[in-house]
Amino acid sequence: MKKSFKLTGLDCAHCAAKIEGAIAKLEGVTAVSVNFLTQKLTLEADDSRYEAILAEAKKLIHKVEPEADLNA
């Protein structure tokens, strides 16, 4: 399953790259991209565990940049 989310509150493109790198290492993630300019996060992952993976991704985002918000 592939879904796009709006990721706001990122200060710098470096943080976007860090978030992208961290989420890509999660188990079950097939592809992830964070676009700092369009403020878009696209996550492609296992259908069965999608919600769980998304929750973990949110935690990672919070860890890198506490001010960032992820919305559907």
């Binding site: 200060d11 710098c12 493109a13 470096h14 943080c15 790259a17 991209s33 676009n35 700092f36 300019l37 369009t38 403020q39 878009k40 696209t42 860890k63 890198v64 506490p66």
Partner: protein, 643 residues
């Protein structure tokens, strides 16, 4: 400005005032007597106002195991300066860092807005007819085959066929074309255009997700996922840059004072300047922004680019291979020459157009189009069409024969021999040969100019591939001044030919790329094989959008030049940013290590460079000057009078 930006601006102003007061106390001789602690309090207050959130973020990030972010580095550098007794400098660095951050966030927001305005082709609603009522709904809710109403000033929300109403459509947002299109019932219209004059009733032919506007938006928004090599390089570079600079700072603070007898304070100060420069943000943000700007600017000109990598490849293109029919030529017949015997050419054309008045053959259509005048059906009688030969009819009481040599030969009329490159219609009036009309697939009006401009841009080889005959192919290539032409090729031969060219290119040039330009309908395999596949005339053609890497919405060859210029400009800006940002950083690092650069310079190397690089990247958005001049009004059919 967002709330966040306003707040930061206010803090910057307050801190700046406090800072100025502190500095004045320090500099003016009249106030030299003020006790040190008053100045100290002023500076510390200033530092607290401007830097509390940075300190807090650094602290909380360390608790979460995130060190080495810019908050931590700035905190360390400024606190270090304060401890060394450089109060003014420590405070100023924090102040300027925040000023830079503010500019950076402002510039990013501004570029986001300009990009968003480029993407402003998404329709917000559709007026759909349901059970005799008109409802305003989200375009995504409209089903296939429903009837929608589009009022003047509204965007066409979904692709469809016009049932009733006539209007003009502004397609500029999709094609960059300034001239509006006339729309009549029965015509297909494309979502994303703006309805200008009349009300249109339209039956939808695609759901929103598959409509042109949704596909274009999707394509442009996702284009940044296919990263150019330059971008990938920067991402890799940034990963090693920060840890390297921080380690170098550490070494600089410890090793020299131990090895030589220099003072710790001096070397620690130098190390702190390193920390200020260590964030790679200027690079990490400005390179993708340049590419995104280039892609956005291109889409404004009616050129869709599917990824930064293709923009990069196009900029390095050395060979351009063209398909002939439909790419360099119009792909439809029109009259190119009238050779009349015993009457003016206009008269011959008039007779031919009337004789062919009732035929639907493409040749008849092109004759009527060339005639342009009104056809009076009362002047025509006794029409007889012989398939594969031509037409016999009585016009104004004269027996007209219009067709190929066979038609005339069957009635005992001899024709002069003719060039076989084009289609020729021979005419006879009352049994006497009256001349011929030559019909050919005309070159596009801007094709020759496009080839000339491409060569001027430094394209080394221009090659044409065609399935057409040798004579027709050579003639076209000669008129366009193409370097090479290969004729009588089947689609599979075209792939083979392109592969051969690719091989030759690789042997001679490491960076050079090959682009293929086609109409996207039947050359998908070649489009895929070339380094850059360019499809033209793609507005509304799904196959072309699917197969190509770069899509030209209109069918003008000049748009290839536009695309090439945009690609070159974008790459140039990206390279400028890399050299500028890296150059300044390395320079300040070197000067800092030697003790010549103060922390002030370091702050400039960090945020100042970032802001300048972002502003430079924004230039990639401006592509208006690359549009070819608007095409002259519909070209009068070229009628060359035979000598």
């Amino acid at each position: 400005m967002t709330k966040k930006q306003k707040k930061l601006l206010l803090r910057i102003l307050v801190a700046a005032i406090l800072f100025c007061v502190g500095m004045l106390l320090q500099i003016l001789p009249q106030t030299a007597a003020t006790p040190l602690y008053i100045r100290l309090i002023l500076f510390l207050a200033c530092y607290a106002v401007i830097g509390w959130d940075i300190l807090w973020k650094a602290f909380s990030n360390i608790l979460r195991g995130q060190i080495f972010d810019e908050n931590f580095l700035m905190s360390l550098a400024t606190i270090g300066a304060l401890i060394l007794g450089e109060y003014a400098e420590g405070v100023a660095v924090m102040l300027f860092y925040q000023v830079g951050e503010w500019f950076q966030s402002y510039a990013v927001a501004k570029s986001r807005r300009s990009i968003a305005s480029l993407m402003d082709i998404r329709p917000d609603h559709a007026n759909v007819e349901r059970n005799g009522k008109l409802l305003q709904v989200d375009p995504e809710e409209v089903q296939l085959g429903e009837t929608i109403l589009i009022k003047p000033g509204e965007k066409v929300p979904l692709d469809g066929i016009v049932l009733s109403g006539s209007s003009t459509l502004d397609t500029a947002a999709l094609t960059g074309e300034a001239l509006p299109r006339d729309i009549q019932p029965g015509m297909e219209i494309i979502s994303g255009c703006i309805n200008q004059t009349g009300i249109l009733r339209v039956r939808t032919t695609k759901p929103f997700g598959e409509s042109t506007v949704a596909r274009i938006l999707d394509l442009v928004e996702n284009s940044s996922e296919k990263k150019a090599r330059t971008e990938a390089f920067i991402t890799r570079f940034a990963r090693y840059y920060t840890p390297f600079v921080v380690c170098a700072a550490l070494a600089l603070a410890i090793l020299p004072p131990l090895l030589t007898s220099g003072s710790f304070a001096d070397w620690v100060y130098r190390a702190l300047t390193f920390l200020v420069i260590s964030c790679p943000c200027a690079l990490v943000i400005s390179i993708p922004l340049s590419f995104f700007g280039g892609i956005g600017g291109a889409s404004k000109c009616g050129v869709l680019v599917k990824g930064s990598n293709y923009l990069e490849a196009l900029a390095n293109t050395e060979i351009i291979v063209f398909d002939k029919t439909g790419t360099l030529t119009q792909g439809s017949f029109s009259v190119s020459e009238i050779h009349a015997i015993g009457m003016p050419p206009e008269k011959l054309l008039e007779l031919a157009a009337h004789a062919e008045a009732f035929s639907n053959h493409p040749i008849s259509l092109s004759l009527r189009q060339a005639y342009a005048g009104k056809i009076d059906h009362n002047r025509i009688c006794d029409v007889e069409e012989t398939a594969g030969q031509g037409i016999s009819a009585i016009v104004d009481g004269h027996r007209i024969l219009a067709g190929n040599q066979k038609l005339l030969a069957a009635r005992g009329i001899a024709c002069p021999p003719c060039d076989v490159a084009d289609t020729v219609i021979h005419l006879a009036v009352d049994g006497t040969y009256a001349g011929f009309i030559r019909i050919e697939d005309m070159l596009k009006p801007d094709a020759a100019a496009a080839i000339r401009n491409l060569k001027a841009c430094g394209i080394r080889r221009t090659v044409m591939l065609t399935g057409d005959t040798e004579v027709a192919g050579r003639k076209a290539a000669q008129r366009l001044q193409l370097d090479e032409v290969y004729t009588q090729l089947l689609p599979a031969d075209k792939v083979e030919r392109v592969e051969q060219l690719l091989q030759e290119l690789r042997q001679n040039s490491r960076k050079g790329r090959l682009a293929f330009v086609g109409d996207g309908v039947n050359d998908a395999p070649v489009l895929a094989r070339a380094d850059v596949g360019i499809a033209m005339g793609a507005l509304g053609s799904d196959a072309a959008i699917e197969a190509a890497d770069i899509v030209l919405m209109t069918d003008e060859p000049m748009k290839i030049v536009t695309a090439l210029q945009i690609a070159r400009k974008t790459i140039r800006i990206a390279h400028e940013n890399i050299f500028f940002a890296l150059g300044v950083k390395l320079l300040i690092l070197a000067l800092g290590a030697l003790g010549f650069a103060s922390m002030w310079a370091a702050v400039f190397a960090d945020v100042g460079v970032a802001v300048i690089a972002i502003l430079n990247a924004m230039r990639a958005l401006r592509t208006g000057s690359f549009l070819p001049p608007p095409a002259a009004a519909p070209l009068p059919t070229a009628i060359r009078k035979a000598a």
